[in-house]
């Protein structure tokens, strides 16, 4: 899920929760507040009644009767005073809710009751206020607030969404330009992403700095390999030629010749490693042009032709089932040949007597794949992850463990994905996947 969507979702949920809690607690809040204000009102009214009684005597209300009762017109409030027996005495006033039936109406009241004495008689004062209108308001208030909150939530969500989109736009550009559309070695585009957000500015700058550093570290490594190899080749040349001249001396004893040839072999090995490293540095350094167009099938046949004696020696049969019309473009023929040559030589070297090599192609999801399958001894799972690492092959085989590194470097240079599938004792399959840019279907 994208950051923008996540944040919008979070804001939506948090707002819904907060507003939900508010709307659902609104009635009880309202009730509590209205009860509080009614109670205050009732107490003030009671004080007024007592003030009247104090000033004018109880008869001001009773007018010689035993009880007094008065309603407002709409029966919203009432006051009543009536004589009660002494047992009805209560210490202080109390307020509670009661339903009263007045005429044909059933009305819920909040009623303050207060018992007081006057001339040895006990009287109960009741002041009541109807709660009907309050309930009416409460429902209305809840509905209106619910409506407003929904509208507000929607508006703020839209605002959030669009604001976040705008806010995160630089971030999206950073991801797209610096991360997704980048390929190593990075093509450093120094136009900074436009943003006023400091964090994004920092992120963009840091990423650029990182890429520059990675690029220059890679470049330094490559240059070092190239320069060191060059420098090493000269003394190797001198030694090689010195030894060669020495071997031509007719007075040499056979054992002396043997030792000279030993030295020469060691030196050849050194020279070969250096040359292979130089070759790798050149491939990695993109020093080979990518302008050739050719039929891979033709190259495959060339590779097998080169290796015919070895195939015959081990009596290996091979089959090439590859579309003859397919054309590779933006490639380097020489490097492509090297890559296949190395893979096929491995397929022969690690094959068994009377074994097989099968090469077939496949067109899958817009990609073109070449599979080189052998019936050889296979590769143990433990060795697979380091297969393409430099100098990873086991010693004592007379090889230097650079063949598959060269394959990998060439594959990387042309954006070819290479995978190896192997079962010890059964065989190995190298699969090369070419992207759309590198081939033309007939």
């Amino acid at each position: 899920m994208k950051l923008n969507h996540k944040l919008t979702l979070y804001f939506t949920l948090s707002k819904l929760i907060i507003f939900g809690v508010f709307v659902s607690s609104l009635p009880s809040l309202f009730d509590w507040y209205s009860v509080y204000t009614i109670d205050k009102f009732l107490q003030i009214q009671r004080e007024k009644v007592f003030q009247d009684i104090k000033e004018n005597g109880l008869d001001f209300y009773l007018e010689g009767q035993d009880s007094y009762g008065s309603y407002t017109m709409l029966k919203e409030d009432y006051v009543s005073i009536q004589k009660v027996p002494p047992e009805a005495w209560i210490d202080s006033s109390e307020i509670d809710d009661q339903i009263r039936i007045i005429g044909s109406d059933t009305i819920p009241y909040r009623i303050l009751k207060n018992v007081f004495t006057s001339k040895e008689d006990y009287y109960l004062l009741e002041i009541g206020r109807s709660q009907q209108t309050i309930n009416l308001y409460s429902d209305l208030l809840q509905q209106v607030s619910l409506f407003f909150l929904i509208v507000l939530t929607l508006i703020t969500l839209l605002l959030d969404f669009f604001y976040l989109r705008k806010l995160l736009k630089p971030f999206r550009s950073i991801v797209a330009k610096r991360l997704i559309n980048q390929k190593f070695p990075f093509n450093i585009n120094f136009v900074p992403i436009k943003t006023t957000t400091r964090d994004f500015r920092f992120l963009d700058d840091s990423l650029q700095e990182l890429m520059v550093n990675v690029n220059s570290a890679f470049k330094r490594e490559r240059e070092f390999t190239a320069n060191a190899s060059h420098e090493l080749l000269t003394p190797v040349s001198i030694l090689k030629n010195k030894i060669e001249n020495m071997t031509m001396d007719d007075n040499l004893l056979p054992e002396q010749l043997d030792r000279l040839m030993d030295m020469s072999r060691t030196l050849d090995r050194l020279g070969k490693i250096i040359k292979a490293l130089l070759f790798l540095a050149r491939i990695d350094g993109g020093q080979y042009k990518k302008e050739d167009e050719f039929h891979p099938k033709a190259i495959l046949y060339n590779v097998f032709e080169e290796l015919t004696p070895m195939l015959e020696e081990m009596d290996i049969r091979y089959t090439i089932r590859v579309n003859v019309d397919i054309v590779f473009k933006h490639m380097n023929k020489e490097l492509f040949f090297h890559m296949l040559y190395n893979i096929v030589s491995n397929a022969i070297r690690y094959n068994v007597q009377h074994g097989q090599i099968i090469i077939h192609d496949e067109y899958k999801d817009g990609y073109y794949c070449l599979h080189i399958k052998d019936t050889g001894i296979g590769i143990t799972p433990a060795r697979l992850p380091s297969l393409f690492n430099r100098f990873s092959s086991k010693g004592g085989t007379g090889r230097y463990g650079l063949g598959l590194s060269i394959v990998k470097s060439i594959a990387d240079a042309f954006d070819i994905e290479i995978t190896v599938d192997s079962t010890p004792g059964t065989g190995t399959t190298y699969s090369l996947t070419f992207n759309k840019k590198t081939f033309l279907m007939p």
Partner: protein, 226 residues
Amino acid sequence: MKILLIDDENELCDEIVLFLERYQYECHNVGTKQEALSILMNKHYDFVLLDLGLPDGNGLDILKNIKENLPDTLVVILSAKGDIEHRINGLEQGADDYLPKPFSLAELHARIQAIIRRKYGTQGQNIKVGDFEVNLQNRTVDYRGIQITLYKKEFDILSYLLLNKNRPLSRTQLYEYVWGDLSLSEGDSNYIDVHIKNIRKKLSAYAKVDWLESVRGIGYKVNVIK
């Protein structure tokens, strides 16, 4: 045959000169572009062995000069810049061959011989070896008039051994000569054994091939009675 070696690596030059003199070439050595240009104006050389990285300039300038003024002089570029681009560039500018360093002296000899054959278009004498006759120019092997077919690489190996007759060549030397650039790859110098085996098999159907000798621990040698 006169050869001018233009290279500033003295130790290397000494060895090359020593080797070439052994094969009866007359060989001089200069170490700078300036010296080279002046000596070329005054003396005739059949061959120039040219290093590209000279202390006072690019060897390609000398190549250009030779091609303009001395069209008969053959040029072999010797360079540590052995990659294909440099090579093509050198050959496009008129070099007759390009030998990447480090090279084997035996290979230098073989290349010089090949250029001479190409240049003078001589049918070349047949080289007699055992009961066989080998023609390097036509790339044929005959047994009393019967032509024996060898694979290209098999012939390359045989001719390389013949050019360096009576001295052992290591498998690596043979491999580098025959496979050239591919010797960088994970090819195997044991492939040479396979080829030698095939050569022996093909030839021994006609006559003995005891002149093609395995040298224990080293490689192979062709013995030709002097």
